[in-house]
Amino acid sequence: MANMPNSAPPRLVLRFLQFVCPPQLLEEIEGDLVQRFAKDVTLLGARRARLRFAWNVIRYVRPSILFRRHASTVRRRNLMLANTIKLTGRQWIRNKTFSTVNVLGLTLGLAVCLLVAQFVLFEKSFDRYSPHADRTYRVNLYNTENGVFDKISPATVSGLGYELRNQLAAVEDVARVGSKTGGVVANPLKGREDLENQIVYADASVAHVLGLTFVNGQSPKTFADTHSIFISTALAEKYFDRRDVTGEMLAIGFNNGSALPEDYHVAGVFEDMPPNTHLRFDMILPPPNEQAWNENWSWGDVSTYVLLQPEANATALAPAFAEMVKQHHHSNTGDRYLLEPIASIRLQALDGSGRGGLINFFMVLAAIVLLLAWFNFVNLSTARFFERLKEVGVRKLIGAGRFQLMMQFLVEAFIFNLVSGGLALMLFVLCWPSLAAYFGQPATITLWQDGNILYGVGFVLVGTLCTGFYPALFLSSFTPLLSLQGKIGSFADRTVLRKVLVAVQLSVSVALLTGVMAVRQQVDFMRSQNLGIALDQTLIVESPLLTDNTTANHYEPFRQALLKMPGVEHVTYASSFAGEEIDWHRTDITLGAADAGYRYGSRIVGIGTEFLEAFDLPLLAGRNFDATNPRDTKTMLISEAALKMFGFETPAQALGQNVFVGSRQFEVIGVVRNYHFRALQTAIQPLLYIQGYPRNPRYAIKLSGGNMQATVAAIGSVWKTTYAGNVFKYYFLDDFFDRQYAADQQVGTLVTALSLLAAFISCIGLFGLTLYAVHRRTKEIGIRKVMGATVSQVMMLLSREFMMLAGVGMILPLPFLYYAVNQWLTRYAYRITPGPVLFILPLAAILLLAFITMSFQTVVAARRNPVDSMKHE
């Protein structure tokens, strides 16, 4: 019988079938064949049955089996669906304005969400390119001065990293990266030369710690000597036109005491760092003095990156850090070292520079705009119910069930959302490049590649369902007889939800508009303040990069040559100018004697003797530096704020006092009036001025108007002859200073755009609501007009309710708004006092806008011939 061992179908043939037959068909076909075989065995005997089996299998080698991709297709022609789609199209055409505004609102809301999602995605993708980014940390110093918290800063000293690497088992690797420096890079063979600014001194281990990949697959562990360098592929292509240039030579001139460039040997080429990283560089140099780099605990401004062992815990380093503070930080015993994961630097950096707050703000705004758009959709859909009253009635009489009707409205909502989604996608793709340029992000859209997009899609789908569901429930609820008579069921007459939605929309619009006003007022306020210093028509020229011990001598002839020009008023130098952080910051300043108890912290600038004159800075007491007095290199001017810091009552008291910076002694010879050397976000800090040509001076050239371009060109040619081989780079000081407000202005522009959108969408909602009200009262209006009501009276009648609603909706959030604006303003040291105008103006603007929106329909309704109105059903 079939159970006999030799009655099993031949294995080989079965294997062949499994090979040729598409898997989804296999089970069925195999089963039928085996069944057939079992029958054949009983009829014909095992041998012939096997032959037949093989033949049957071979017959399956035919295209309609081999290339069949699916097991079964069920082609359902859903007639109801087709019908619904047709109906939706008809509805659309019949209410063109209605559908268009509806879709417009949704499109804008969705597009904004897409744009913000892409923006946020990029911000969140920072510093994740390294394969072991999750165990890479940056060391931060929690710094204290005189036992009091000063700041958290990622600037550490170079000795720290060396000790970390050598002492701790939990540490896999450490990389120290120095601050950026500039260099004139040249490839003489190709005759290419340019100024590069993205150059860092670092350990060779930076390649491993930060996860750089080298083009030739090998990542060097160390630098062979002080003249080997790693460069990025971008630099390689720029100077050699190819990527792997390992072993080639580059001539590089640095600001390191030699005016002549030296030859450097390319020991490795790494792939360009991605744009989404907090630290970017194009060239890595070994530190010039290896021993000092390793052992020096005062070589500052070094970023220390730590790669922990896979199982190690960041907290395991705490005792070691405490020990280091004890050994190396002397009196600052309150100092601590903190580890921050590199992936969190962009958004939540410990030093407070993270953009997380801004990102959350954007996300909330986008969500608000989308919510408003959805509110609108609900409002407009339900407001249309008068037009659809009869339709629903007839449908119900013919026999449509409630479920079918709901499906119809849901499908309608879905189609509206689908169309809006498509349009929003197009808008997004169109707008992203310009927005990306505005925020300095890459123009490529990476949104589709991210898994989180699914959550977003899910969110939008759920939202669509919710927004579609209420109108569906609402519209399908009419009782057929009443709706055919034009009477509205009790459920349908509930407009509370719509009123609440519109009120919320309007209050959100007012809130956003108030935000816009606040940002604008604050930025305008800051820009219009007297800085206490004249920044206009001032050209700042970057210091020459290639210097040696004779460079300082070139300054005086350079200055004299410039002063001879007609358009030049003053020429001076300083270590830093207004509009940037002054990085010369000492915290070991004492008064009276070196090491005299309390240590003050202050910023210091080195200036030329003409500085005060060039910038119109008046002295409150004492005298300016005297260029001819050699003793004046041991003197100091102090700012008003420094005067206060030192505790002097009057400027005169400070004169003749001795201030020690570390061990160097300075006599105070004058007090300079305060000026804002930083934007008005920050308060004026104490500042000490000392005279003398600093290490990295920049030159300030005060122009007297006339033909600026010609003057700048002339200065450039003088520069070329004085500082041969150096690039002439300059900027205008007032522009530079204003750039500090760029971030605020960026936020301002964004909030403006979003709030206008929100206001627009709210107006659409109001439009729908008015439409509904006017429809409902058409007959009443007709009767009133017959009785003698004027157009304005009718308009008042129609608008009154909504204006009151709008008023309430807008006034309720005012206390919250007042609080929020004040909270935001605390970020600024110099700020506006929010006055009533700030809150009343947006309110009035939105009210006016609301009124205008409503008038579109109230005017038409009020002016209509009463005869027509009375005929209305």
């Binding site: 076909i29 049957n56 069920v74 082609r75």
Partner: protein
């Protein structure tokens, strides 16, 4: 589905699917053809036709339970859709209409 053309073998298979009801699967249909029509038919031809009919929406299928004689493999059970039934009925009526044109000299079957 105004002008759906059905071949002779397709029609045969469709009819058998309708007739065999819960027992309509490849091997059973082939066997039925062999025993009733005394016509040699290859399994592969039956399967291909079943798939084609399914693509046309005339039949639909579900995987049925497994049986021992098939070594634990499941059957795919086919059933006629309403479209398939309508088509069968239309074809039968058309045949009858045409048949009525033939002079009724001799009756052969019904």
């Amino acid at each position: 589905m105004a002008k759906e053309y059905l071949g002779e073998f397709e029609e045969l298979i469709l009819t058998l699917v309708a007739g065999l009801q819960d027992d309509a699967y490849g091997a059973a249909i082939a066997e039925e053809i062999e025993t009733r029509l005394k016509r040699d038919v290859n399994l592969s031809a039956v399967h291909v036709t079943l798939y084609r009919l399914e693509d046309k929406g005339l039949i639909k299928s579900v995987m049925g339970g497994e049986t021992k004689e098939r070594g634990g493999r499941r059957k795919r059970i086919y059933t006629v859709t309403s479209a398939g039934m309508a088509l069968l009925r239309a074809m039968k009526e058309m045949r009858l209409d045409l048949w009525k044109m033939v002079p009724q000299l001799k009756m052969i079957g019904g």
